[in-house]
């Protein structure tokens, strides 16, 4: 080991990145390391950059140890664990000056010596595995778990925490705990004997993860569906939304099955395609069940026709769009916020939809519940706009709270008894002046029967091709959309009095918050508006009006949030300056800081 120079990173503040081959079990090793840091009380961020592939392609996992509790990527790599010879060159290039690179030294890698400002450490992982384990598959798997032991020595990770995590994971196969611990110990001992440990960047126990847990956003959203009382889910498998329905099913199998009869108080339709998935959701919602579909951009494209029907026929539907990189198949395992416009205006004809923008798994849970309430209250499709970063990465989440007094808002539904008391029921009549009519569920009784159609209809629910009758209904839908603006979750606003501000949404939040702190240290004071719903509420208009310079931070190429703002608010276009990140990896705080510095030095936005 050659000491080069001191890294910038330090105690409880560094990034370690693992370059692996997918299908080799690296996820377990990397997850173990992340969870160990978390259990030691130190806030941690885990990001998985994986290929659209089952086995054999490069995959990376990035762990940021952040005692200060930031939730985004920093943009640095202090320690690279280079386990994939195919990507050595780029992995070495990515290490920040003063950083370290660990590799399997069972074979010679001259290319790894080509950087003077990186300390290269070799561990003969394959040789150690060959000497200590039997069988080709075990040797591959153990090689990964063995570097977890090396990490434990380098970063002073608690081996007992690792053991208890393994014991929990392999509760049914205790023999695996010993085998894994043996590999960890081998790696640990080798590092202790051959390197100066610990490294300057290491983990010191803190108490900052109490009251938190680690969960991905798809699981949190699924939990939201469970708690919202959703009974029907329909879907077609698509990355990165698949784990949402997997999690919903798994929660339901635990919490929705009658222990005596084995009957399931839920029904999940694995549809033949996304068209059928949204159709089943609409059918179930029309029939009075809370129903939802998780999908991603290509699925939204396929669902467009049905989305227009649900909008026009006013059927409450909940869609989760776990956004991935487009266009077309794009990069299915990479993240973006690229479906804002395609969801806001999904389907042909004049349509506008309610969108919710959770920033993290915690909000994914709460806004999922709210999505069902809003869909039923407003009788319209509601989109929960997740992305791969929120949906599939493990986040440190503050403990979720649940109010047992909560009851679903089923909206304006006339039941069989109420229907008898009114003179005549008309499906699309705006009796309350809020643009929202009353509805009935099939089976309510003959008096409540009506005909649902996507063709022209009048306010009584009858078929029409009459211009006046047609316009009356679509104009009411505009009133309803205005009502929605006062119901969607309010934007979060931070700071006051600055002349300039950042406008952002969703998973940009962590990086924006960190960037704001960095900019403040640089003497740049900015306010921050994070939109959480569409249509935009009054507070959004006010923020836009009261700031002269606005940096719109979002993760797509075409500035879709900026487009929505210019289309749907009174903001002057000249005030908006885009900071766009669309590489497919989650945006870093340093990217935003640099973007704002550059824009300010050019005076672009003023």
């Amino acid at each position: 080991m050659r000491e080069v120079n001191r890294p910038v990173a330090g105690v409880n503040d560094f990034v370690v990145k693992f370059a692996n081959v997918n299908g080799t079990g690296s996820a377990s090793a990397n997850g173990l390391i992340m969870k160990t840091v978390f259990r030691m009380g130190v806030p941690v961020v885990g990001k998985n950059f994986f290929p659209s592939n089952i086995q054999g392609l490069p995959t990376w996992y990035e762990i940021r140890v952040t005692g200060e509790g930031w939730s985004a990527r920093s943009g640095r790599v202090d320690v690279m664990v280079a386990m994939n010879s195919e990507t050595y060159v780029r992995d070495l290039k990515e290490v920040s000056p003063g950083g370290y690179l660990l590799h399997d030294s069972s074979w010679a890698h001259p290319v790894l010596l080509s950087r003077e400002d990186v300390t290269v450490m070799g561990v003969p992982l394959s040789e150690l595995c060959a000497e200590n384990f039997e069988g080709a598959r075990a040797r591959i798997l153990m090689k990964n778990i063995m570097y977890a032991g090396v990490m434990a020595a380098l970063f002073e990770l608690d081996l007992e925490v690792m053991r208890s995590l393994l014991t929990e994971s392999y509760a049914r196969k205790p023999a695996l705990v010993d085998a894994n611990m043996k590999a960890i110990q081998l790696g640990y001992d080798y590092a202790k004997a051959n390197f100066q440990t610990p490294l300057p960047m290491r983990v010191e126990p803190l108490q900052r993860t109490a009251g938190h847990f680690v969960m991905d956003g798809n699981t949190a959203a699924a939990l939201g569906c469970l708690y919202a009382g959703a009974t029907v889910g329909a879907w077609y498998p698509i990355t990165p939304s698949t784990s949402l329905m997997d999690a919903f099913k798994s929660f339901c199998m635990k919490h929705r099955v009658d222990p005596e009869t084995g009957q399931r108080n839920f029904l999940i339709v694995q549809a033949e395609d996304e068209l059928a998935a949204i159709g089943a959701v609409i059918g179930a919602a029309w029939n009075g069940a809370r129903s939802f579909t998780p999908t991603s951009g290509p699925g939204i494209s396929l669902m467009n026709e049905f989305i227009g029907l649900a909008y026009y026929a006013e059927i409450p539907t909940v869609l989760f769009d776990v956004q991935r990189v487009g266009p077309s198949t794009g990069m299915p395992t990479r993240t973006q916020q690229c479906d804002l416009l395609s969801c806001a205006y999904a389907s042909h004809g004049d349509t506008r939809h309610v969108l919710l923008f959770p920033a993290n798994p915690e909000e994914a849970f709460y806004l999922s519940v709210q999505a069902f309430d809003l869909a039923e209250r407003l009788q319209t499709p509601v989109f929960v706009m997740l992305d791969l970063d929120i949906g599939m990465n493990d986040w440190m989440v503050p403990d979720l709270q649940w109010d047992d007094a909560y009851r679903p808002d089923r909206g304006k539904v006339l039941d069989a008894q109420t229907i008898q008391k009114i003179e005549k029921f008309h499906r699309y009549l705006d009796v309350d002046g809020d643009g929202i009519p009353w509805r009935t569920v099939p089976g309510t009784g003959e008096k409540g029967a009506y005909f649902t159609r996507g063709s022209g209809h009048n306010r009584f629910g009858g078929y029409t091709e009459d211009s006046v009758e047609y316009q009356e209904v679509v104009d009411r839908l505009v009133r309803k959309f205005k009502t929605a603006a006062g119901m969607v979750p309010k934007a979060i606003i931070k700071g006051s009095g600055a002349g300039a501000g950042i406008v952002s949404l969703g998973s940009c939040d962590g990086a924006v918050l960190e960037a704001l702190a960095v900019l403040t240290r640089q003497g740049i004071k900015l306010d921050y508006l994070r939109v959480r719903g569409f249509p935009f509420g009054e507070e959004v208009e006010e923020f836009l009006a009261s700031h002269e310079q606005l940096f719109v931070v979002e993760q797509n190429r075409d500035a879709q949030l900026k487009s929505l703002l210019t289309l749907e608010t009174a903001v002057e276009k000249r005030k908006l300056h885009s900071i766009l990140h669309y590489s497919g990896l989650p945006v870093t705080s340093s990217f935003i800081v640099e973007g704002i510095n550059r824009a300010m030095s050019k005076g672009e936005a003023a």
């Binding site: 680690v214 969960m215 939990l223 469970l226 708690y227 009974t231 029907v232 329909a234 009869t261 084995g262 009957q263 399931r264 108080n265 029904l267 999940i268 339709v269 549809a271 033949e272 395609d273 068209l275 059928a276 998935a277 949204i278 159709g279 089943a280 059918g283 179930a284 919602a285 029309w286 029939n287 009075g288 069940a289 129903s291 026709e305 049905f306 029907l309 403990d399 979720l400 709270q401 649940w402 109010d403 047992d404 909560y406 009851r407 679903p408 009935t440 569920v441 099939p442 089976g443 309510t444 003959e446 409540g448 029967a449 009506y450 005909f451 649902t452 159609r453 996507g454 009858g462 078929y463």
Partner: protein
């Protein structure tokens, strides 16, 4: 346009066990062409629902897009109806059934809706065995867009303009038989005596009941050279079995000769009694049914009647192990695990 039909109640009209007359099962006035086969089917549906004494609100009518799909507005006005999007009614039906398994779902579709744009959805509704009556009002032609061949038009059949169809047809009966449908029938809009009992049997069937109903299009496909015209269909019908009636268990009266009647048990204690017109035919033998239909197609004949009935396969809800109580009426307390359990769920993620 949907025109309300005046309801005139005459005191002496026969009433069913719901106390309702046949007229109570009617809907809006049809806007289809005079003489359209679909209107005869609508009348047969009205008759079947009346005879089964279905409470109107226990029926849900679903359709896609097309002439046939319009007809859900023309029967049982006391039931909720849903005219959805082209070819996607089966998905709506699956979702609706998921939410409430107790309603009688009547899906009305056509050959364009079911065999072209919606072929995939039809196939998967059969595969799921969604509990519904699925009517395919089959005229071999696109009416609303003025006369293009549909996927059910026979090879060589002539259009009104004299053009010959150059593609082999997709036969919904063969399709349904081959992918495991549990109730497969074919009928003719002009044969109400056959159609009404089939509709009743289909409504009582526990699972997906497909009835392909040859329903001539008087405007675009009723000329010489068409294999779906009234004249052609009437001349080329072949019926191996007649589904005579359904009664509750214990009340079956059969006056057929020995070996002529086949009785099939249905759920809820109902039975279908089939009268064999062709002694070699067995409507519970799927492979035989497939062969039989194919043989007659080769002769240019339309096999009608209850072609296959198998009550054995699990339906949609049985596969999903849902409770008898509809999911849409389960109290929220049964669905939400509550705050204590949330705490224990989270604990597993620390």
């Amino acid at each position: 346009m949907s025109i309300a039909k005046p309801k005139i109640s005459r005191p002496n009209l026969p009433r069913n066990s719901q106390g309702l007359t046949r007229r109570d099962y009617e809907g809006g006035m049809s806007t289809l062409c005079a003489g359209c086969g679909h209107d005869s089917i609508t009348a047969a549906i009205v008759q079947a629902c009346f005879e089964l004494s279905l409470p109107p609100q226990s029926v849900a009518k679903l359709s896609g897009i097309g002439c046939s799909s319009k007809t859900t507005a023309y029967f049982v006005s006391g039931a909720h109806g849903f005219n959805s999007v082209h070819g996607r009614m089966p998905a709506i039906a699956a979702g609706a059934s998921a939410a409430n398994r107790t309603l009688h779902y009547i899906g009305v579709s056509g050959d364009g809706d079911s065999l072209s744009i919606g072929l995939g959805q039809l196939g998967h509704a059969i595969r799921r065995n969604v509990d519904m009556l699925y009517l395919l009002e089959n005229n071999g032609v696109y009416g609303l867009t003025k006369g293009q061949f549909s996927a059910s038009a026979e090879l060589g059949s002539q259009s009104k303009k004299g053009e010959k169809n150059d593609h082999e047809p997709i036969d919904p009966v063969l399709l349904a038989l081959s992918i495991g449908a549990t109730f497969v029938a074919r009928s003719f809009s002009g044969d109400k005596e056959q159609l009404v009992p089939l509709l009743k049997a289909g409504l009582m069937h526990r699972g997906f009941a497909l009835i392909d109903i040859l329903s001539p299009c008087v405007t675009f496909n009723d000329h010489e050279g068409s294999t779906k015209s009234y004249a052609y269909v009437r001349e080329h019908l072949h019926t191996p079995v007649a589904a005579d009636y359904i009664e509750t268990r214990g009340e079956i009266k059969v006056d057929y000769g020995p070996g002529e009647a086949v009785t099939v048990d249905m759920h809820d204690g109902h039975q279908v009694v089939l009268k064999k017109l062709d002694h070699d035919y067995d409507p519970t033998d799927r492979a035989r049914a497939l062969g039989y239909v194919q043989e007659h197609i080769a002769r240019g004949e339309h096999v009608t009647g209850l072609i296959y009935l198998g009550e054995g396969r699990r339906n949609f809800h049985e596969r999903h192990q849902t409770p008898q109580q509809p999911l849409n009426s389960l109290p929220y307390e049964m669905l939400c695990p509550g705050s204590d359990r949330l705490g224990s769920i989270i604990k597993r993620y620390r």
